[in-house]
Symmetry: C2
Subunit: 311 residues, 2 copies
């Protein structure tokens, strides 16, 4: 199947074509550029929502509940679960995804896991391409879920139109969440598992931290804090309402275009850096190894080594 | 103070000189190359130990207990806490470091926090330089503690001679830990807070996962799983013994030289990429913005944009 045909079939809603395109993107296939060029004119319609939070806050459950809510509205939904995998444990990690099986038979829902394995930056360029595939495939909403609260996860979740940060009581305090830099990227904070003790305290703490950082110009978005217990279906409609409110603000304030330009810039930059990195590992690999040996010996400093490598 | 003088004073054990050198490294100061060149001949002696684990597993407490154990052996210890900070919360995040105040008056202990803020990759080049400063300052052991279990944290902790992964019962199951890719990087796994229920189960699960991945050649290191409750001082000596055992293996098996060459290669590569990134944000910034606008509009795909950006 040629790329143009695949894109055509994906646009028509063929889930296998969508899956194959994402695989091409994920594997950095030779056809990648052709795929990207074919997708470009058909993108920009989907609302891209990033979700992040520490393991155990209920991200998969929340994503599944959001899918149900959007499906009830008749929308087509894509889910991209950015999920580090391990060669040791492979299949076991799919455990989480079991919760998504509620949507397994629904042809209007595309669910895809992507690995963050390999070098930093690899995913930073692959995830936005996968979002483009889902966007071109007519998804009204694309949910990008990242595992963990590391900086790369935060960056990926932050590359969305709207970013949701999930918290839960008893998962280490919210100061820990603040450490990962999620306060700055959250448009909507969901305090999940709100049926447990301590949810009010978490919500209060986040509100206080947001107030501390409050120096917003008129018309700026003020992050919303919502309590929910998505495993019981509680608070899901409030979360969706907050997401829609943010969407409205994005469009009215002209912020959507700005965010998307910034996202495109990060994407182009990530691709350029990945290419430089590939060159360093490839044709320049032997030279890098020789320089590294001198650095390890203490006979060369790493900056001079980097000069020699680039120059 | 000139750089050569600072390095001389740092080698003599002056904590202010050590602090100033790390600040130069962290701020990407103009003297950075001169600092790196002056340090290079004096490095390679310290045992570099990386520690990572999810928030709440007791990393700071464990690091503090390890410092005490190494000090009891008469060793000079450096601690580099790689700690994302937030402009919103700033000072509050120092809470963690309070536990380190046991060592505040000890001139043979250097403790330093570094921020992961800013672009990915920035820290990947700054942290190894800070380790070099501590190494040149005569530290026998350098403990590099990272917050969070994201990929960047895992990469930083993995750039050590010996990598310790901390886990604790009730912090989300160990499958979650596996997701972050820590199984592959851990030389020693510490199941902390072992006085709590579930510690045996976590230890068992990790051992099982390690066994699943078991296809080690003769002479390869088999990761060790140790239970501890470092806040009570329990198991600390066992952890140190495991670290020393790994150190012995590294030296006997010739693995230390291999690891250090690889680390140097990653370091040189990170510096080279940071330089390319700086160029893209700097002199090439306006061009990137113009290309990003076309990508956001769908009139250009990001790969072609990246081609045009790079040249």
């Amino acid at each position: 199947m040629d790329v143009a045909g695949l894109v055509e079939r994906a646009r028509g809603g063929d889930p296998r074509a969508v899956a194959r395109l994402i695989t091409l993107v994920e594997n950095d296939a030779p056809q990648l550029r052709e795929v990207a060029a074919a997708l470009a004119p058909h993108t920009g319609r989907a609302a891209v929502i990033g979700l992040t939070g520490a393991p155990g806050v209920g991200k998969s459950t929340t994503v599944s509940a959001l899918v149900t809510a959007y499906r009830r509205r008749g929308l087509r939904v894509g889910v991209l679960a950015v999920d580090p995998t391990s060669p040791f444990t492979g299949g076991a990690l799919l455990g989480d995804r079991v919760r998504m099986q509620d949507h397994a038979g629904d042809r209007e829902v595309y669910i895809r896991s992507m690995a963050t394995r390999g070098h930093l930056g690899g995913l930073a360029s692959a995830a936005p391409q996968a979002v483009r595939v889902l966007d071109a495939a007519g998804c009204d909403v694309v949910l990008v879920e990242t595992v963990g609260v590391g900086q790369s996860e935060v960056e990926i979740a932050g590359q969305a139109d709207t970013t949701v940060v999930l918290l839960a009581p008893g998962m280490g305090d919210s100061v820990q969440a603040a450490k990962a830099g999620v306060l700055e990227i959250g448009d909507v904070f969901v305090v999940n598992k709100a049926d447990r003790d301590g949810a009010d305290a978490v919500a209060r703490e986040i509100n206080q931290m947001l107030a501390l950082g409050e120096a917003r110009a008129a018309g700026e978005w003020r992050p919303v804090v919502v309590k929910a217990a998505t495993a019981r279906g509680e608070g899901v409609e409030e979360v969706v309402a907050s997401l829609e409110k943010h969407r409205g603000w994005l469009e009215e304030a002209g912020a959507l275009a700005v965010r998307r330009r910034e996202r495109a810039a990060r994407e182009v930059e990530a691709i350029a850096l990945a290419r430089v990195r590939a060159r360093l590992a490839g044709t320049d690999g032997a030279r890098l190894d020789a320089l590294a040996e001198q650095v390890a010996d203490g006979t060369l400093d790493p900056y001079t080594a980097s000069d020699r490598l680039l120059g």
